[in-house]
Amino acid sequence: MGTLSGKNITKTYGKDTVLKNVNIDIETGKIYGLIGRNGAGKTTLLSILTAQNPTTEGTVTLDGQPVWENEESLSHICYSREISQVTMFGPNTLKVKDYLSTGKAFYKNWDDDYAKELVKLFNINPKKKVSKLSKGMLSAVTIIIALASKADITILDEPVAGLDVVAREQFYKLVIEEYAQTGRTFIISTHIIEEAASLFEKVIIIDNGEIILTENTEELLARAYRVSGETEAVDLAVEGFKVYHPESIGRNKVVTVLAEEPVAGFGEDVQVEPVALQNLFYAMCVDERKEA
C-alpha cells in the first residue's frame, strides 16, 4: 500500500474556512498522532482523507489514485467514527452486532475472530442497542471496528475520549500489538497527549485549520527546550531562536524554544530542560490564540 496524500486541501462551510491549503502525506507502516485544539480541523481533515466529506479545493490520493468514490482505494482505509446514539427519527435502535456485521460486509480484510475476542475483552454485550451504551462502551465499539477491520490504513478519531484509564491502557497495548504484528498504518487523534505521545512515530499538529507541523516525534522533541532563568540571561540565550509562550515570574522567565536543529547548549546562565509533547503543543498553540 502506498502513501495517502492530501494536496492543497481547503474546506469551507459557507464563510467559515475550516482547512486552509493543507498538505499531508501519510506514509505506510507508521503510527501517526494527530493533535490539535477543539475546532482546529482534525475531524474535518480525517473525514476528507477518507472521502466521507468532499474537499472544497484540493485532492486526496492513495497510491496516486484519487480516493473520492473509489471503492478499491477506500477498501484499504478504515475510518471508525464515533457512533451516534440518536438518528433523525429518534434513538438509534441498531445493536452492537449490527455495527459489527456492517464492518464485516464493508472491510475486505475484516477479522471476525479478532472482533469477537475484542468484544469479550472490552466486556461489550453485542445484543445491546447502541442507544443504551455508555460513552466508554461506545468508544470501545468504534475501537473494535477499527482494529478488526484490519485495514491497511486505520484512522481513529479520539478513540479514548470516553474510556477509563484501564480501558485506555488496554487500547494502547492493542494498537502496539497489532502494529507490531501487521505494520498497519494508524492515525490516532487524541486530546490525552501525554499518555499516547510515546506511541506516535510521527506527530501532526493542526491549529486553526492549518497543519503547523508533521514530524518524527523523537526528532521534534530533540530540538525543543524549556529554557529558564533570570529574564536578561534567558533573553540573551534564546536570541535568534523561535520562542513560544514566554512566561515571567518575579525576575525569572521561562520560554519554550523550538530550534531548527538540536542545540549543544544555551550557556551556563540558564537552565535547560527537555519538553514533553503535550507541553510543546500547549506552548505552540496557546500563543497563536493570543496573537489572533
Binding site: I31, K173, I176, Y179, A180, S198, E201, P274
Partner: protein, 122 residues
C-alpha cells in the same frame, strides 16, 4: 527493567540505558536473551520503532547481538564495555553535578573530599 520512563531524555536512550543497567547489575547476563522489541514496546507503551532504535544502539556499541530467528542476546564482554564507556562520561554526568550543587550551598573542596573519604560504601 521496570523503572518508569522519564521525560528528561529521549525514550530510546532510556531503553538502552536500562538494558545496560540490567547488565551491570547482573540481572541480564552475557549470552542471555533480552526482551524483544515488541515486549519492550508493549511494556513501556512506546512505538516499536523507538524500542528498536534503543536496541540497535546497543548492537552498534557491541553490547547486544542478533541471533537470526531467535532474538537479541547480550554479547560476551558486554559488561566490561559498558563500564569502560560509562567511566569516560562519569565526570561529565555525575561529578560535575555534585560540584555545581556543592558550590551552590557552599560546600568547599576539603569538605567534599572528607565526605568521600568517610563513605563506607566505596
Amino acid at each position: 527493567m521496570i523503572e518508569n520512563l522519564g521525560e528528561d531524555k529521549s525514550i530510546y536512550l532510556q531503553i538502552s540505558e536500562m538494558i545496560e543497567d540490567e547488565i551491570l547489575r547482573d540481572i541480564l547476563r552475557e549470552e542471555e536473551q533480552v526482551p524483544s522489541t515488541t515486549e519492550l514496546s508493549k511494556f513501556y507503551k512506546i512505538n516499536p520503532a523507538t524500542a528498536a532504535k534503543g536496541i540497535n544502539l546497543l548492537v552498534d556499541k557491541g553490547i547486544l547481538y542478533k541471533k537470526r530467528g531467535i532474538g537479541m542476546f547480550v554479547c560476551e564482554g558486554a559488561k566490561d564495555r559498558i563500564k569502560e564507556a560509562r567511566r569516560t562520561s562519569f565526570y561529565e554526568n555525575y561529578v560535575k553535578r555534585i560540584i555545581s550543587e556543592a558550590k551552590l550551598i557552599g560546600i568547599d573542596k576539603a569538605e567534599l573530599k572528607k565526605m568521600i573519604d568517610e563513605t563506607k560504601e566505596l
